[in-house]
């Protein structure tokens, strides 16, 4: 069997969470069909990306030590097709790309880039920033990304993971165009299964009996919900550390609560920004068409929808923010109650453990052993005897 690596490097907000979830949950089926998706945890390839790019990430990077080398070793050892997928690989520098490709050995590497029009990506990226502690307003975000200097962290990150021709310049420069595959996200309103069919075709998964149930997605928020979350960030990001922010704000508030506001207006672009984004997209489409890559879908998908009604999240009124705010308070109270129950249970377990220890200490044999130990500890010979005894029993020396 020929060795092949399908390396999916982006972009964010193109259905990657769903794809990765399907691949992660179906690992045994994939293996049976000669396809390796090496991941012992859902975010294994995210950690590998952090490692490859030396990217601290709110403390998560400590779990990423050596993750890329391990992943690459598993891929090299596999005699068949292997898939690597994470959207933040899009940000890799040319040097990191060279290292990544070299570490995949002599396999035939195919680069996969899933892409979506800027008209939808820009609001989605702002939402993603807000879900990652940012309280930048939408207007400031747009100003930042439209600044050609790209001086800010937001601007440099945005373009590093969204500027399709540049990502391909970095990742695909050494590959023939037929081994570079673009998967375009279908226009809004398309059949929900269409994106998966494009992924499936590109990754060669069409005939496999995969469980496609959506267990993990990265849902989007409505305009008032995002506006509320940004306002909350203004208050909490300076006092809530990332390890607390992730479960309480990003998960409980954003993903589990505010994303349910499906009736809320969806965020788009104001007419002037829309025209700029579409113009830029047209120039990208022209460049990509010339390069002759394999495209699942159509490059025209990258032009995005026509302008629609624009709801400005920076001017959301108190009346608009009130319903999601009440939902947020309710969700946090429920979460607080759950955590209180956990705390109560742990206190109970600790109490039981203390009682058990105290009962054990009351026994004559324990008191006798304690006395022997204290007596031995008072002399050098006794301590030597104790140490020898503990070595024999395989017990560590007690901490001083």
């Amino acid at each position: 069997m020929s060795r092949q690596v399908l390396l999916h490097v982006g972009c964010p907000k193109t259905g990657t969470s769903y794809l990765q979830d399907v691949l992660f949950r179906n690992q045994p089926v994939l293996r049976e069909h000669g396809v390796l998706y090496p991941a012992d945890r859902f975010d294994a390839h995210f950690l590998a990306a952090l490692d490859l790019m030396t990217l601290p990430w709110g403390g998560l990077e400590t779990e990423a030590v050596g993750a890329w080398d391990r992943l690459a070793a598993e891929v090299r050892a596999w005699d068949g097709t292997a898939i690597i997928s994470h959207e933040i690989f899009a940000r890799a520098t040319p040097g990191q790309v060279a290292r990544a490709l070299a570490s995949l050995g002599d396999a035939e590497v195919h680069l996969v880039l899933s892409v979506r029009d800027l008209v939808r990506q820009i609001p989605a990226e702002w939402q993603e920033n807000v879900k990652h502690r940012s309280h930048v307003t939408y207007a400031a975000f747009l100003r930042t990304i439209r600044d050609p200097a790209r001086e800010s962290k937001i601007g440099s990150w945005f373009w590093a993971v969204q500027e399709i021709p540049d990502i391909l310049d970095r990742w695909a420069a050494s590959l023939p165009p037929e081994r570079v595959h673009l998967v375009t996200v279908p226009p809004s309103g398309s059949d929900r299964g269409e994106l998966w069919r494009r992924f499936s075709r590109t990754f060669g998964l069409d005939d496999l009996p995969l469980d496609l149930t959506a267990e993990r997605e990265n849902p989007s928020l409505g305009v008032p919900e995002t506006s509320l979350l940004r306002t909350i960030n203004q208050r909490v990001t300076s006092v809530l550390a990332p390890p607390d922010y992730r479960p309480l704000v990003r998960e409980v508030l954003a993903h589990q609560t505010l994303s349910r506001g499906v009736a809320s207006a969806r965020l788009g672009l104001a007419p002037a920004d829309h025209a700029w984004a579409q113009e830029l997209s047209r120039s990208w489409v022209a460049v990509l068409a010339e390069r002759g890559y394999d495209v699942a879908g159509s490059l025209d998908d990258l032009l995005g929808p026509e302008p629609g009604a624009f709801a400005d999240p920076d001017t959301a009124t108190a009346d608009e923010l009130l319903p999601p705010a009440l939902d947020a308070i309710s969700a946090l109270l429920v979460e607080a109650a759950r955590l209180r129950a956990v705390e109560e249970r742990l206190h109970g377990e600790l109490r039981e453990a203390h009682e058990e220890r105290d009962r054990a200490r009351l026994t004559t044999s324990h008191r006798l052993r304690r006395r022997v130990v204290t007596t031995l500890e008072d002399s050098a010979a006794g301590r030597g005897t104790l140490a020898a005894y503990r070595r024999l029993r395989g017990r560590p020396r007690p901490a001083a």
């Binding site: 952090l50 601290p56 990077e61 990423a64 030590v65 520098t93 300076s238 901490a399 001083a400």
Partner: protein, 375 residues
């Protein structure tokens, strides 16, 4: 991109690899000199850092082989964290896409530090942790447990363990190392930089001020309560001269308090070490860095005026709590009040931090295993 400028860029990289210091905009030679680096051109961050390293190397006695190895490492090092991508050289990149090309000389110290911190972290990992000196515990030693000032506590714990007086044991006296609260906060942040790293000093301080809480190690009352120590077994020590006696020794060594630049550099290095070695190995490596990091002459960080009122109020609250609890005090609880209002405070400056980083890259003496290190 003109082919000439691309060739010139390769030649400039080779020039830098050979120890050259000519800025890119002053570079006029077009032909390749020496062995060109294979693969993509390094970013402007790496190239400018190498040029600055070379400027420092000129004044050093580093051997050519050492210089070349260091040059290759600088060119291959990534820039840590979510900053700018590797920046192309002005006049070379003809692409309409990607980050705008720059003159490397204009790349800020902050960006160069992203690369330098990776190199120093790799040096530290390669060096490995210093062995921790220990001695058989003396049976007659005073049993103690240290809380409070983390810089002092860490240094003293090590010293005492090396002299047969490890922390802990049966019914230890809980010795709380007190200090004016502004200094205590500064030292808590400083020590954190040499452990896991943390956010920058102003942000860290704001985090606690907005919570109106003290970090665990700077909260003396909570630190004492945490150990459930009975009152007779507690000493709140505000007078450093009387500390040795509380620990059952005659003298204690002076513990070095890292300056603002050293702490800031350690903070950056800690973040990279966290992604290079398993979490359990990081503390010993960072402690090694704390012992060996060269001095920069900068004072330790200080609390800015804007935060002084909150610090004073927190100190007053701590004093009230300790007084009410009735713990024995060695010294005077009035000494917990912030002491440095109006005094000269250390502030980390990116240029100075970069200077320290480059000094450590060029002069490997801090990595020599037989070097006497300060405690």
């Amino acid at each position: 991109m003109s082919a000439d400028r691309a060739a010139a860029a390769r030649a400039w990289v080779a020039h830098l690899r050979e120890g050259g210091t000519t800025p890119w905009l002053a570079w006029t030679a077009g032909e390749d000199r020496g062995q060109a680096t294979p693969g993509p051109l390094p970013g402007a961050q790496q190239l400018e850092l190498l040029r600055r390293v070379n400027l420092r190397v000129l004044a050093s006695t580093a051997a050519p082989a050492q210089r070349r190895t260091l040059a290759d490492r600088v060119l291959a090092a990534p820039a840590a964290g979510r900053g700018k991508a590797d920046l192309p050289l002005v006049g070379v990149s003809a692409s309409d896409f990607g980050p705008r090309p720059v003159d490397p000389a204009t790349v800020g110290a902050h960006e160069l530090l992203r690369v330098a911190s990776v190199l120093l972290a790799d040096d530290l990992v390669a060096l490995g942790p210093d062995p921790v000196p220990t001695a058989w515990p003396r049976p007659w030693r005073r049993r103690y447990r240290l809380v409070g000032d983390p810089v002092l506590a860490t240094g003293l714990r090590e010293h005492l363990r090396a002299h047969g007086r490890p922390e802990g044991g049966r019914r230890p006296v809980l010795v709380a190392l007190a200090a004016p609260l502004d200094e205590l906060l500064a030292r808590t942040w400083t020590q954190r930089c040499f452990e896991t790293g943390t956010r920058p000093w102003p942000e860290w301080l704001r985090f606690w001020r907005e919570r109106d809480q003290l970090p665990a190690r700077a909260d003396l009352a909570a630190s004492v309560r945490r150990w459930h120590a009975r009152r007779p077994f507690v000493r709140i020590v505000t007078d450093p001269d009387r500390l040795p006696r509380q620990l059952g020794v005659r003298h204690l060594p002076q513990v070095r308090v890292p300056g603002a630049d050293q702490a800031e550099l350690a903070r950056r290095v800690a973040a990279v070490v966290g992604i290079r070695v398993p979490a359990a190995e990081r503390p010993a490596l960072m402690r090694t860095l704390q012992r060996r990091i060269p001095g920069s002459g900068a004072a330790p960080v200080g609390v800015p005026d804007a935060e002084q009122a909150w610090v004073a109020a927190s100190a007053a609250r701590t004093t009230r709590e300790l007084t009410r609890a009735g713990y024995p005090v060695v010294g005077d609880l009035a000494d917990l009040a912030p002491a440095r209002a109006g005094a000269t405070r250390g502030v980390a400056d990116d240029e100075r931090v970069l200077d320290l980083a480059i000094r450590m890259l060029v002069d490997p003496s801090w990595r020599h295993t037989d070097r006497q290190v300060e405690r």
